[in-house]
Subunit: 351 residues, 2 copies
């Protein structure tokens, strides 16, 4: 029989700095709520996998001006929003049958009633794993392609630096830069030897470890002669250093700033004047713009084409799947900010 | 008889933070040097007026990487470089006669031997004061026009915010935005009531005082609905605040960061993520690019046209002329960084 109630995680205390994971002031709390009736063109789904994205941190920031956020914030006592892969338990839609695997926007919940139009069915015969629709062939891959090629205008023969290169977006940027754009040289920045070697296996000419004591010296060396494009996923000190390593009239693609999401303000940017002196161009972007501009299907098509041609690898090592009890959803999410993942961080609720 | 020696100010100790104006470690020191013979196509000139520009601070920064500076640095023990209006004392050029007033690059010196091709004669019949060739109808006005119109793409009907609005560049940006571009609304930011009222007299719809205790509240109010373009002359905290006040897909023109030139690194930028979330575009520029691109004569022509048509005002209140003894040249220059000038700061050595 279909459930009539579900547990969900709500944002009990929107954080300003580090989220809190224990006690009375915990950022997230579990609540049991009644499920609404399944209406026409709706489905009741069971959550299987959650997408973990640094951007989610922005949605819950305390005191955020909704006009300045690119998407609706998650307000106090609302369920924590995410992308998810789910399975249809009960369908009142012609488009979706019981048992169908779907992906789309959802919340940190066991069960949800969703509009059928808000989810997309996964073609299980395609050979592409369901979770990759949350990663390389989904919004994450699109973020990489749209940011690098459309916003940043990366071109064949250029030198590209990517930070967060072992992350979900970064690992796709590396591959797209090297294998689709035809960059002359791709330089990755990631945390730890193991991740760096993986990034190199994806196509980076070199990947350097920002945790190494001589990181700065290494970065200066591998960026000798300066670089055309810097794809920034991390912000903070690495961004600040890169302001000094981008060529005159070079470009910085501002995709995210994960190093600063949990800090209270300070970004450590000292080299702003490099933007003036070296005529840098910086462009921020959000992947939803690709959808708005009608460019998403075409760009995702390029990625799928690249996968089929064997140029892009989206495999088991492109995601870190963490079997997680419902009670531990926030903890798995938090490992995004402590460098716990290689590729896409997926919360696996099926175990 | 023509002099054979001159006093000049050299950069004795390139500074990292605040320049030092007294004692053994003084940034600048006076040196008496022999003047070279005046060769063919050269002139011996007497310095009349010095241009004071925040950019000069960058040229003398200790430890600057010459590859990252947009122009050659002034090295330790070299004469401090500047733009100047001078008078020809002795000419060995067909193009320039004795007594001619000229402007061009020079140094903080009493006399100099310059290539005739490196200076331009001032047309004394034009009615334009010689010192304005260092300001509104010179490189300063060009900086404003090129930055606002070419780099920033400001268009009729847009809302433009300008910081350092009572400065040499800012006061031209205000006028060009309002009277040539046709901006719907021009908002100035300047230091002090008197300067603010002057900026409004130039055409700003409103100018607010960054020294006012309620500056932030005032800024939020006058930028309600957000703005299309921010022309940044100051960097630091005002820039940081403006990152939150530029419209989605809006532009920031990075012209300078005078508030940070004498500080050791920290820029106070906390709102970098606004660039991502609101898809801001930031472009740095240097006025010399306008010359390189062959656009300078056309843009200066637009300014002169605007002056002749009565749209732009470059008058006595567009410059702060400070009668200065040779010994006090660095002190007059320093007032750039303490808000001592309205419009172009000119050192007058003729008194």
């Amino acid at each position: 029989m279909a459930p009539t109630q579900t547990r969900e995680w709500i944002v009990a205390n929107p954080p300003k700095g580090e989220p809190v994971y224990e006690g009375e002031n915990a950022t997230f709390k579990i609540k049991t709520v009644d499920l609404p009736e399944v209406g026409d063109n709706q489905v009741l789904v069971k959550t299987l996998y959650l997408s973990n994205d640094p951007a989610q941190r922005g949605w819950i920031q305390a005191g955020i001006d909704p006009e300045r956020l690119y998407t609706a914030p998650v307000l106090k006592n609302e369920a924590m929003r995410c992308f998810a892969v789910s399975q249809v338990v009960k369908s009142k839609s012609d488009q979706l049958k019981d048992g169908q695997i779907v992906y789309g926007q959802s919340t940190w919940t066991e069960y949800a009633v969703l509009d059928a139009s808000a989810v997309r069915p996964i073609d299980e015969k395609s050979g592409i794993k369901a979770t990759h629709y949350l990663g390389g062939v989904g919004a994450t891959g699109l973020t990489a392609y749209y940011g690098l090629v459309d916003v940043g205008g990366a071109k064949e023969g250029e030198t590209v630096v990517v930070s967060g290169a072992a992350g979900a977006t970064g690992s796709m940027v590396v591959q797209i830069a090297k294998h689709l754009v035809g960059a002359k040289r791709v330089i990755g920045i990631a945390g730890g030897e193991k991740k760096c070697r993986w990034v190199e296996s994806l196509g980076a000419d070199v990947c350097i470890d920002y945790k190494a004591p001589d990181f700065k010296e290494q970065l200066l060396k591998v960026t000798e002669g300066f670089v055309d494009v810097y794809f920034d996923n991390v912000g903070g000190e690495i961004l600040d250093l890169m302001l000094t390593r981008v060529k005159r009239f070079g470009r910085i693609i501002a995709c995210g700033a994960v190093s600063t999401y949990n800090s209270l303000g300070e970004t450590g940017i000292k080299n702003w004047f490099e933007i003036v002196a070296n005529r840098l161009e910086i462009r921020g972007f959000i992947v939803t713009d690709a959808f708005t501009a009608g460019k998403a299907p075409g760009y995702i098509g390029k990625i799928v084409e690249g996968v089929k041609a064997g140029k892009l690898k989206i495999g088991a090592d492109s995601e870190t799947v963490v079997p997680t009890k419902f009670e531990d959803i926030p903890k798995t999410w938090n490992s995004l900010f402590t460098g716990g993942n290689q590729g896409k961080l997926i919360t696996d609720l099926t175990a």
